[in-house]
């Protein structure tokens, strides 16, 4: 049980050797994928994430009603067959709101990380590869962003962008979270590049006259993918928490667009008599973050057993 330590690997009974070593899967990627498939945590995480994607994608079909339609005659209804999660102070169906709320969380969580990757990875590649003044200039800017307590920067950015509803509002939150997360990827990639660029195969590329951009994207980047993939998955979990927190503070996507953090906060005023109104959006945030965390953990154990 080499590389053990996570609770899941330990569930494999002692005495059964892992067939990964018998040569069926030899490339590091195939081995990693194989380990990923054997990890209970990763599979549970992946299942949660897939359910979430389906719910967000097919919200129109799955939701029993409109998340924004007011029904003054049906305010504060307790959970029932008609409204499995009850209704809020405007009579809106909470199940529909929770289902549609997954869109904002998922879109912001995934796209803010992708945006941060898109900007951070090239910056890290260039800074690490060219070194010198380029490196100093890029990393100073990154250091300034990193010198900020993350929430201070995110909150001020959101006030600057003026939070709004709908897709535009979602994009603003995405942008604010992406900006505070760029340095994480830039630093990570720069660190990997610094060690990779000294390797013989990169020297060989230089000797063969391969162009810089091809060396960077064809040879250096693929070799620092493993930590990037792991950080990305766990980063989505963090981004979803940051989004929920901003919404909770009233600085996320604005109503009427359904957002879990906002719903939780808005319904706190009625928590005494209607606790489920805050409970369900909170549970939705929890399971979503749990899903990405479990999957990210499994991925880390599978792709890079050294990082534990």
């Amino acid at each position: 049980m080499s590389g053990g330590g996570s609770a899941q690997e330990a569930e494999i009974p002692v005495g059964i050797t892992l067939p990964a070593r018998t040569g069926r899967a030899n490339s590091p990627l195939a081995q990693g994928l194989y380990r990923l498939g054997r990890s209970t945590t990763a599979l549970i995480g992946a299942a949660i994430v897939i359910v979430l994607i389906v719910v967000a994608g097919f919200a129109d079909v799955l939701a029993p009603g409109s998340p924004t339609a007011n029904a003054p005659a049906h305010t504060f209804e307790r959970p029932s067959w008609d409204h499995p999660l009850g209704t809020d102070q405007l009579g809106r169906d909470m199940l529909s709101r929770v289902i549609y709320g997954s869109r904002v969380s998922l879109i912001v969580g995934v796209s803010s990380v992708l945006l941060a990757l898109l900007l951070g990875v090239p910056l890290g590649l260039v800074a690490g590869y060219y070194g010198g003044r380029v490196d100093t200039a890029v990393m100073r800017v990154m250091d300034i962003i990193l010198a900020f307590p993350i929430y201070l920067l995110a909150i001020i950015l959101m006030v600057m962008f003026t939070p709004t509803a709908g897709l535009l509002g979602t994009m603003k939150v995405t942008g604010a979270i992406a900006i505070v997360r760029i340095p994480i990827y830039a630093r990570l990639v720069r660190g990997s590049v610094l060690s990779i660029k000294e390797k013989e195969y990169i020297e060989a590329c230089h000797a063969l006259g391969v162009r810089d951009h091809w060396i960077l994207f064809g040879h250096v980047l693929p070799n620092c993918l493993a930590p990037i993939i792991v950080t990305t998955t766990l980063g989505i979990a963090t981004s979803i928490i940051v989004e929920a927190t901003l919404s909770f503070l009233g600085l996320g996507t604005q109503p009427p667009t359904p957002s879990w953090g906002w719903d939780l906060k808005a319904n706190l005023a009625f928590i005494q008599d209607n606790p489920w109104l805050s409970l369900f959006p909170g549970l939705a945030i929890f399971f979503t973050v749990l899903g990405f965390n479990l999957f990210g953990d499994g991925l880390r154990d599978a792709l890079d057993p050294r990082l534990k």
Binding site: G5, S6, A7, A10, I144, A147, F148, P149, I150, Y151, L152, A154, I155, I156, L157, V159, M160, T162, A237, I241, A244, T245, F248, L249, G250, L251, G261, L264, K265, L268, I271, Q272, P275, S278, L279, G282, I285, F286, V289, L290, N293, L294, D297, K308
Partner: protein, 324 residues
């Protein structure tokens, strides 16, 4: 060592300047300004111009920042545009509340994570370990405010108002005015849930990190040696293993400071505490420039000083680490 600390303290200056300057520029690039909010709806443009001039808001940005810095050098943090109160006075009143919250929450975090991680690592792959790792996994996936809401549901609503859901009772000696409630017992009742909400989230993360590093340390040769020379389990675990395993944990604690400040804002908002977190978020939303500058300044200083303390903790945990 003394030289190192001095050097690091001097290095704080550019970081704090950078943070406060960026905040300064960002706040002033937000559309609209606090003067309009101050004057209300029925203001005339002449009033606005006069008030802007009074607060120096008509000058170029860099000049305004220079004025702010110059005043700061004389110990003047400026006055709130909206309330007219000195910013420093508000910060001094609110700081103890937030410090109490953060210190207690770190205490909660350590009190949970150290035993949990030790049990997890020493009894690896037993039910105790599974419980510790599962609970920790759940803990890192719950945002602070939801932990707070769950605590509210149980202790304020479920158990018939066992703990107060909002407000604050000051510790003796920290009361800012004549009218606030002062009592140690009342203070404990008010701080318990916020400190747990903030601490449990940290505890989960620390347990994961500490368990992983304990697992590595207990397999090292010096731990085997300590056991072989007949030391009982207690000193082996606490003195030999734990102390070394704490190094990565302390690093992570340092990296968490940014999140801790955010957590304080959220938890103070949820429990309506009169701390720096609520001060900051209210100031930012109201665009009270002077208050925001004060908040940015105190957060930046806290952020940098805590990171320095983290680095100094290394020398205690591992005497081989010396800062020349």
């Amino acid at each position: 060592m003394r030289v190192y600390v001095l050097k690091r303290l001097i290095e704080i200056v550019p970081t704090v300047l950078a943070i406060t300057f960026v905040v300064f520029v960002m706040m002033r690039s937000i559309p609209g300004d606090p003067v309009v909010a101050l004057l209300g709806d029925g203001y005339t443009e002449e009033d606005a111009v006069r008030v802007r001039a009074e607060y120096g808001l008509d000058k170029p940005l860099i000049v305004q920042y220079g004025i702010w810095l110059a005043k700061l050098a004389r110990g003047d943090w400026g006055r709130s545009i909206l309330s007219g109160r000195p910013v420093l006075q508000d910060v001094v009143i609110r700081l103890p509340v937030t410090i109490e919250l953060i210190v207690l929450s770190m205490g909660v975090a350590l009190a949970i994570s150290i035993p949990a991680a030790i049990i997890g690592a020493l009894r690896q792959n037993t039910w105790a370990d599974y419980t510790a790792t599962t609970v920790a996994m759940i803990g890192v996936s719950i945002p602070e405010f939801f932990i707070g809401v769950l605590l509210l549901l149980v202790f304020s609503i479920g158990l018939g108002g066992l703990l107060p859901s909002s407000g604050w009772v000051y510790l003796p000696g920290t009361c800012p005015s004549m009218v606030c409630g002062v009592s140690i017992w009342g203070n404990m009742q008010h701080v318990l849930m916020p400190a747990f909400a903030l601490g449990v989230a940290r505890a989960a993360l620390l347990t994961r990190i500490l368990r992983a590093s304990m697992l590595e340390v207990v397999r090292t040769e010096y731990v085997t040696t300590a056991r072989a020379k007949g030391l009982s389990e207690r000193p082996v675990v606490l003195k030999h293993a734990l102390k070394n395993a704490l190094i990565p944990t302390v690093t992570v604690m340092g990296l968490q400071v940014g999140f801790l400040i955010g957590g304080a804002i959220v938890v103070e908002t949820l429990f309506a505490m009169p701390g720096l977190g609520t001060f900051g978020i209210d100031a930012i939303i109201a665009r009270d420039y002077q208050q925001v500058q004060g908040f940015a300044l105190i957060t930046a200083i806290a952020f940098v000083v805590i990171n320095l303390l983290v680095d100094l903790t290394y020398t205690f945990l591992d005497p081989r680490i010396r800062y020349a």
